[in-house]
């Protein structure tokens, strides 16, 4: 699984994502700077978390218009896999690769804590290692993760199974939705199924020593998706 992690000025989860892919999964991966105008040969592009360009104008807005994003769009148009985590999700909505927008959390707080995520759709390239309905414990760290879409878009995302991860309350943590997201949405995939954005950080929950390895399934899903597509070829 050749992976490219994009580094924007202000990215701060780039090394975490790189670590999980290269050291936990042992896959070839590279880091490239946002000013690059070409991607190395790659199966998966990761847009990492952080505060690209200091969240100036709108979170993800400036990064979405940086030179490398033209190449990321071409990669997505060719059917290449793109994973946007936290700020990466914001970059994906700002660039039009995913629908909707991420508003300020409704409680105005920056939230840094573990949440419960329900796997709504396990028939995607990003979630096939999970069971449908499985509950994952994964951290969030964001101030603007309040997913918003107009009613027609929201209905289509729900109807087409594009809502992949949803915040859910449990007995231990009855709160559930932390930020006011419509329909408790935490992560969506595009209609074609090759671009996924989520606010929680699977790369921070990929090793038991760090408290949870529930997030590793996202990367394992991608690995098995690529292995299976190679078999088909």
């Amino acid at each position: 699984m050749k992976t490219t992690v994009i580094q924007f000025p202000g990215s701060n989860c780039d090394m975490d994502a790189f670590h999980v892919v290269s050291h936990v999964l042992g896959q070839p991966s590279s880091l490239i700077w946002h000013a690059e105008t070409a991607l190395p040969p790659t199966d998966l592009v990761i847009l990492p978390g952080g505060f690209s360009y200091g969240d100036h104008l709108r979170s993800g807005a400036i990064a979405a218009r940086s030179p490398v994003m033209l190449e990321v769009k071409k990669h997505a148009e060719r059917g290449g896999l793109v994973l946007g985590i936290c700020n990466g999700f914001q970059v994906l909505t700002e660039s039009g690769l995913l629908e909707g927008a991420l508003l300020r959390n409704d409680n105005l707080h920056f939230l840094c804590k573990d949440v419960n995520l329900k796997v709504e759709n396990n028939h995607t390239a990003f979630s096939n290692a999970y069971q449908k309905g499985q509950i994952l414990r994964i951290p969030i760290a964001h101030g603007e993760g309040n997913f918003y879409a107009d009613p027609e878009t929201l209905a289509r995302l729900e109807g087409e199974g594009q809502v992949v991860f949803r915040y859910v309350g449990t007995v231990q943590d009855a709160e559930g939705n932390p930020n006011g997201s419509m329909n408790d949405i935490a992560g969506i995939v595009n209609a074609r199924g090759n671009v996924l954005g989520l606010m929680p950080h699977p790369e921070r929950a990929s090793e038991a020593i760090l408290g949870s390895s529930d997030g590793l399934g996202v990367f394992e899903s991608l690995l098995s998706t690529l292995a299976n597509s190679a078999l088909v070829k």
Partner: protein, 87 residues
């Protein structure tokens, strides 16, 4: 011709503005009890030059494509001619 543009970006009317709501509560606490419908937005100003129609076209494009996100925000701008000293 040189122009100054004043650009106003606010959350769409249909979107709840939690920041505006918080500011409104604070104003009420301070005794400004008749205050309502507080909306907090962004103000951007910039200067540019060209024929007026061309400048308006550029502003329409940049406010729609970059300076606002039409999914969640409304945007409008005002344009004034800049008279440079000595002219």
């Amino acid at each position: 011709m040189n122009y100054k543009a004043k650009i106003y970006v606010t959350l769409k009317k249909s979107i709840l503005d939690p920041q505006g709501r918080t500011v409104e509560k604070s104003l009420h606490h301070a005794g400004f009890s008749s205050v309502r419908n507080v909306r907090v937005g962004k103000f951007i100003e910039l200067e540019l030059s060209g024929e007026r129609a061309e400048v308006v076209g550029q502003l329409e494009a940049m406010t729609r494509d970059i300076l606002s996100n039409p999914i969640m925000e409304s945007v409008r701008f005002e344009l004034e001619e800049l008279v440079l000293s000595g002219e």
